[in-house]
Amino acid sequence: MELKDLADAIIAGNRDRARELTEQAISESVSPQQIINQGLIAGMSVVGHKFKNNEYYVPEVLIAARAMHASLDLLRPMIAQGAIEPVGRVAIGTVKGDLHDIGKNLVAMMLEGAGYEVNDLGVDVKPEQFVEAVKDKGVQIVALSALLTTTMPAMADIISALRDAGVRGKVKVMIGGAPVTQTYAEEIKADGYAPDAASAVDMAKELLAA
């Protein structure tokens, strides 16, 4: 089979076809790493690109991510066995509350689609939880989301907590969310800011390369 077809199935958001092709690839002993790189990551990267260009909107990204997940689910047993190396490890969460905003989940999906291992800590995440993720899970990037100006200061709290725990130097912190800005990121000495899910993937890549 052609992995390009799998990438296309994901771009088109065709979950059943993505499953079919993944099963075929597995049965043909294509390596999981290759399936992920040339099928999933390749597909989601096109999706991210179109999203940035306003050719794809959120529903399309969700539908594509849904197909990607179906494929990933089939590959999970192999990931558990260590057959696949993630591009990086990320811990993501909304610092306080979550008003049904899908932004953070979209970022998580896009990062997964780009080959990252994503620990989604959920909503209303306490600083200690992030510190733990860094210490225990070897997380290299901490991604924070806030939805109200009143909850943004919690981001600074998390950066302080990382510093107090002596792990600030071990991770890169990137932030996002409706009220968040580049200026604010500089103010609280975060390492990066991303205005949307597709840019978040680019930012993660940049931060790890630095």
């Binding site: 529903p59 509350g97 049904h100 209303d124 100006t149």
Partner: protein, 621 residues
């Protein structure tokens, strides 16, 4: 600070403001209201104006929202534009805040009249040596309410009123309290008003509590929209500004008092004959009306200041009714499921049988209630304002000129509210448009619009409506000669996406609640569509786009403004209040954002197709 003069056209209104004030601020001073769903933050682009002469250089937000060409032609955003010299500003019709057509007829029902307030004419025996009872005791005994209480203010007036009226008076009781004593027989003049305070629109129903009939109804925009179209923006406004909460409270109070006046005029009565008020509204509206700081509603875990029903003096809320009038606010459930949902529950009798029934409020908050087997569960889906016109390129609220229904067979046909030239498209029109565009294959089930490059796949009358670059197509619904501003009215690819997100949220909410109930969609006996908007949407369209589970049409019913109906029931019947209070205690609230896998099911609900339990009933995807 030097002044500048701003002249607004076509109104021909001139104001002088401090240089550097925004055009929005100047317009406010001139009494001109703008569409500002984002609260004047420069994000929605709806407050566009044309500045004649030399407009100030554009801000980044204006270039982003309007585009270079428009900006060079003098277009600006009223909320961002701050002139430092005199300017003349033309405000196009679509930037203005207009009155909207609001659904006011709800479900009629018979209810035993048992209001919380009552009046009785009394011809009292005069005091005499043999009968030296106190004035109050005399009155209470005659009224058959020997143990009622009376306020100090009332006691101060009581003696004088009784004697001036020569002991022929009408007593006014609210439950076990004597709230007023009026000279002569005014017992037939007892009215109450029920309010549905929506995020976007407010409706008031005036009831004659002696005759047991509705005698007037009036509606108005919720003036708070000037500070944000949705609850979160308003909560943000209240928290960020020290005067914010007070401003919002006064905004809504003014609207309620305006509706009271309108109703009185319409019914030919005096406001001081209104002795009772009931209110339903979502929790945020409830808090803003009471002046309760709403900040905690927006932060996890979203707890209200109070959920219990409130029984207050109307005077405490500055309502212009009888000074002794009472005001009852129905109970809330949670931060985002409020008294209005309780109103819906009450009116729809959702608890009366064990049948599995679902009630959906199609609006910005998108509350869903599922009842069955003695359980009642509720959630808020935060569908977003797409159903009420916001975030849609030519979206508008349901007011004159809004396209409110669409059919596509060999051609596109539509109707507008009041039959006026098309100004924009409202929620029901958008749902119809997308459903019909699906059927005509202009849009596929993933929500992708056909590229103009492939327009030849459509019959010619439809093909020529597909315009725009391949990555950003749009579909013309109304040609220039059919619209008010002479420009074609289109539904863009992005508009379809916005609708997908909103309807996906509602659908997912229904799906999750049904699962919580241990049931499947096919077991639902009835889906009730509520909300000002619910009455206009075609059931077929709602099913076709996957807004609600694909049940047979006879199991889908529109119940109109059920929240308002609930407020009326609470006004007409004190036992309805007991019932709604009991019900409130039984409703279980489900926090959707805490449901794991919400976003996966949300993705499942994206498809524009008849859906049942999250699976597309169409092609296997």
């Amino acid at each position: 600070m030097p002044d500048v003069q701003i002249e607004f056209l076509p109104d021909k209104l001139r104001v002088r403001v401090a240089a550097g004030s925004s055009l929005l601020e100047a317009a406010e001073q001139a009494g001109i209201a703008f569409e500002t769903p984002c609260g004047g933050e420069g994000r929605c682009g709806k407050c566009r104006v044309k500045v004649r002469g030399s407009p100030p250089p554009p801000t980044a937000e204006e270039i982003e929202a309007l585009g270079e060409d428009q900006v060079s032609a003098g277009l600006r955003l009223a909320c961002r534009c701050r002139p430092h010299s005199d300017v003349v500003v033309y405000i196009p019709p679509q930037s203005r805040l207009l009155q909207q057509s609001i659904l006011t007829a709800g479900i009629a029902r018979d209810v035993i009249l048992d209001p919380a307030v009552s009046k009785r004419f009394l011809d009292l025996p005069r005091p005499a040596l043999e009968d030296q009872r106190g004035d109050l005791e005399r009155l209470l005994r005659a009224a058959g309410m020997p143990h009622a209480g009376a306020s100090l203010a009332l006691l101060r007036e009581l003696g004088a009123v009784l004697r001036a009226a020569e002991w022929k008076v009408t007593s006014v009781f609210a439950a076990d309290r004597l709230i007023a004593v009026e000279p002569g027989d005014t017992s037939r003049l007892i009215y109450g008003i029920a309010f549905d305070v929506g995020t976007t629109t407010v409706v008031g129903y005036l009831l004659d509590l002696a005759a047991g009939a509705q005698v007037a109804v009036a509606s108005d925009m919720n003036a708070q929209v000037a500070h944000g179209e949705d609850v979160v923006t308003r909560i943000q406004f209240a928290t960020d500004n020290p005067k914010g909460l007070d401003l919002l409270r006064r905004d809504i109070t003014a609207v309620l008092n305006g509706i009271i006046m309108q109703c009185c005029r319409s019914a030919g009565i005096e406001a001081h004959h209104i002795y009772d008020v009931t209110v339903v509204g979502n929790t945020c509206m409830h808090h803003l009306l009471l002046g309760l700081p709403p900040g905690q509603l927006a932060v996890m875990p979203y707890v209200p200041v109070v959920t219990a029903a409130q029984d207050l003096a109307a005077a405490e809320l500055d309502l212009a009714v009888n000074p002794a009038a009472r005001c009852y606010l129905l109970p809330n459930i949670a931060g985002f499921v409020g008294a209005d949902t309780m109103g819906v529950l009450l009116a729809a009798d959702l608890d009366r049988s064990d049948d599995l029934r679902v009630a959906i409020d199609i609006g910005t908050n998108g509350e869903v209630v599922v009842a069955g087997g003695g359980r009642i569960i509720a959630c808020s889906t935060a569908a977003g304002p797409a159903f009420e016109g916001a975030t849609i390129s030519r979206g508008m609220r349901a007011t004159s000129g809004a396209i409110d229904s669409v059919t596509i067979d060999d051609e596109v046909r539509f109707t507008t509210i009041n039959g006026a030239g098309a100004r924009g498209i409202c929620g029901s029109g958008l749902i119809d448009a997308v459903a019909e565009m699906r059927r005509a294959r202009v849009v596929d089930e993933t929500g992708r619009m056909l590229s103009p490059a492939h327009a030849d796949r459509l019959p010619p009358p439809l093909a020529r409506r597909l315009q725009g670059p391949p990555e950003r197509p749009e579909f013309i619904l109304a040609w220039p000669e059919q619209t008010q501003n002479g420009e074609p009215l289109t539904v863009t690819a992005r508009d379809v996406r916005q609708l997908q997100l909103a309807k996906g949220a509602l659908y997912t909410g229904v799906d999750i609640l049904l699962e919580e109930m241990g049931a499947t969609a096919s077991q639902v006996r009835e889906i009730l569509l509520a909300g000002a908007f619910g009455n206009y949407v075609k059931r077929e369209s709602a099913v076709a786009v996957g807004l609600i589970p694909a049940l047979p049409l006879e199991r889908i019913r529109s119940i109109g403004n059920a929240a308002g109906e609930g407020a009326k029931l609470a006004l007409a019947s004190a036992s309805a209040r007991r019932r709604v209070e009991e019900l409130a205690a039984r409703v279980e609230y489900v926090e959707l954002s805490a449901c794991p896998g919400f976003h996966l099911r949300f993705a499942d609900a994206m498809f524009l197709a008849p859906l049942l339990s999250g699976e597309s009933a169409a092609s296997g995807r």
